[in-house]
């Protein structure tokens, strides 16, 4: 049940969930997300949102949703169609962006709404006396959700950069001065993640020390037809829905976890195809993509005459 909705700023609303029976929600660790089911008339949307509440208190799950007027409608639904007291279905938490607890220090870089997983992670680390340093970049005071909260709570461990005041984040300097054994975590817009990863790699940070999470939404595209061989049905993937969503709309329950093309859970075998794949994921190898034998339905699309999947 949605127990509270708080308008954080002009773009962000915060939602609090509690179990309808008042019991404790499942345990999770910082960085985990839940998938929220939105019943929008005939259309069911499933959107992942990072848990920002503290893992130490699972009476409540909290998420923050940034409204995207140009998006596919999930955030607009949350902002305008959800009321306190409403019952919703949410998934168990899944963590694809967890802390590496062997690290001596955790260096966190957040951009915009990417701050949400770090709220849970810092709460978790603070409770254990963990060593962390957070750098939070945002456009202006109006959208710097939780900047004040973080500053008040964690003081010098938190560094804030407002681009409207030309406060620049000196990424190279920060990366070059971290002690051995530091792990890096970045969450924010895709461009920022790419910039941080490339800079870290160039400065000699080994791949296994850099962790990142995209809040990626599937790109729209031309509609296309698909045959689901195991289910024995044909479906049409609309312009604004993903292949995964179209399969789900047909009443089938395929596996998924992140719904953003990075975790690999929805990997689907292609039985035959006559056309061109539009691979938008970050999971398949170059070889897999060229083979035309696999597709990630959560984000990828197809253009052509026929596509038959093993679903």
């Amino acid at each position: 049940m949605v127990t509270d909705i708080v308008t954080v700023n002009e773009l962000v609303k915060r939602f609090h969930f509690r179990r309808t029976d008042g019991g404790l929600l499942p345990t999770f660790s910082g960085g985990a997300h839940i998938v929220v089911e939105m019943r929008d008339e005939e259309r069911t949307r499933l959107n992942p949102y990072s848990l920002m509440s503290s893992p130490l208190d699972t009476r409540d799950y909290t998420i923050s949703v940034r409204r995207d007027d140009a998006g596919r409608g999930g955030s607009l639904f949350m902002h305008s169609r959800v009321e306190p007291g409403q019952r919703m279905v949410i998934s168990s938490p899944v963590n694809l962006f967890s802390l590496d607890l062997r690290a001596r220090k955790h260096l966190m870089i957040a951009g915009g709404i990417g701050i949400t997983p770090f709220l849970a992670q810092t709460a978790q680390l603070a409770a254990e006396g963990g060593n962390f340093e957070l750098h939070y970049c945002f456009r202006n005071d109006g959208v710097g959700s939780y900047a004040d909260f973080l500053r008040q709570r964690y003081d010098r461990k938190v560094n804030l950069y407002r681009s409207d005041l030309q406060e620049t984040f000196e990424l190279e300097r920060v990366l070059a001065t971290q002690p051995l054994g530091t792990h890096l975590y970045v969450c924010g817009p895709e461009g920022m993640i790419d910039w941080v990863r490339a800079t870290a790699a160039g400065l000699g940070w080994p791949g296994e020390t850099v962790h990142y999470e995209h809040f990626a939404a599937p790109q729209p595209g031309k509609p296309f037809d698909v045959t689901l061989a195991l289910s024995g049905i044909d479906i049409r993937v609309g312009e604004h829905e993903s292949l995964l969503e179209a399969i789900e709309a047909a009443g089938i329950d395929p596996p998924y976890l992140c719904r953003g093309g990075v975790c690999g859970q929805c990997e689907t075998n292609v039985i035959s195809h006559d056309g061109k794949f539009l691979h938008n994921d970050h999971w398949l190898s170059e070889e897999d993509r060229r083979s035309g034998c696999k597709i990630m339905p959560c984000v990828s699309r197809f253009e052509g005459r026929s596509l038959v999947l093993e679903r």
Binding site: Q178, L180, G181, L203, G204, P206
Partner: protein
């Protein structure tokens, strides 16, 4: 043969980084010299080499000096170099890359020190060169016997005759040795030199 416990060693290759630390013993120096042939001319300016010549003596020293590394240290043993190494790692930043080459014994011991300092083994470049002699831990008395070349071997601490297993421990940087004649101590299999 694929042994799950034994690390897989590769070939040294230059990594992106701000500081490159090479640690080698005996024939391992030749791997550094080979790698230098592919490296850019200024690569070694930001490199530090710690070299334990051992049986190789002066063979490679001139070659290493010719690379003009930022620093070249020569020491008599891993034990002697450990304190210095720990100090370097304590004060190092992310951007330091580690390259270990030479005997399995050197690579294992230094990897362990690096792990304590926060460097995961998958981030370390390694290359085996030279003697395949093993460090063996006696599973009974826990003592380590160095430079084991024979199968079986007498534990240098408790004198039991040990079968040198292929089971390896990263934590101990050693292979496991287990008593080969516990049922009949009078049965003494002849020692064969197998780890060269």
């Amino acid at each position: 043969m694929t042994l799950l416990s034994r690390p897989v060693y590769g070939k040294l290759s230059a990594q992106a980084g701000t500081h490159h630390l090479f640690i080698a013993d005996a024939e391992g120096a030749s791997a550094i010299l080979d790698m230098a042939k592919q490296a850019s001319p200024d690569f070694f300016a930001s490199a530090e080499i710690m070299y334990i010549p051992g049986a190789a003596g002066d063979k490679y020293v001139a070659g290493l000096e010719a690379l003009v590394p930022g620093r070249l240290y020569r020491g008599p043993s891993v034990a002697a170099a450990t304190q210095r190494l720990r100090h370097i790692l304590e004060n190092a930043h992310m951007g330091l890359r580690l390259y270990l080459t030479g005997t399995e014994s050197l690579i294992g011991q230094v990897s362990r020190i690096a792990a304590e300092a926060g460097i995961e083994h998958s981030s370390i470049q390694t290359e085996l060169r030279g003697s395949m002699a093993r460090r063996v831990q006696c599973v009974h008395c826990k003592g380590i016997t160095e430079n084991v070349t024979t199968q079986p071997v007498r534990c240098s601490h408790c004198d039991l005759l040990l079968l040198v297993r292929d089971h390896y421990s990263r934590r101990l940087a050693a292979f496991q040795g287990v008593c080969i004649n516990a049922e009949d101590p009078s049965e003494i299999p002849p020692a064969e030199e197998v780890f060269r």
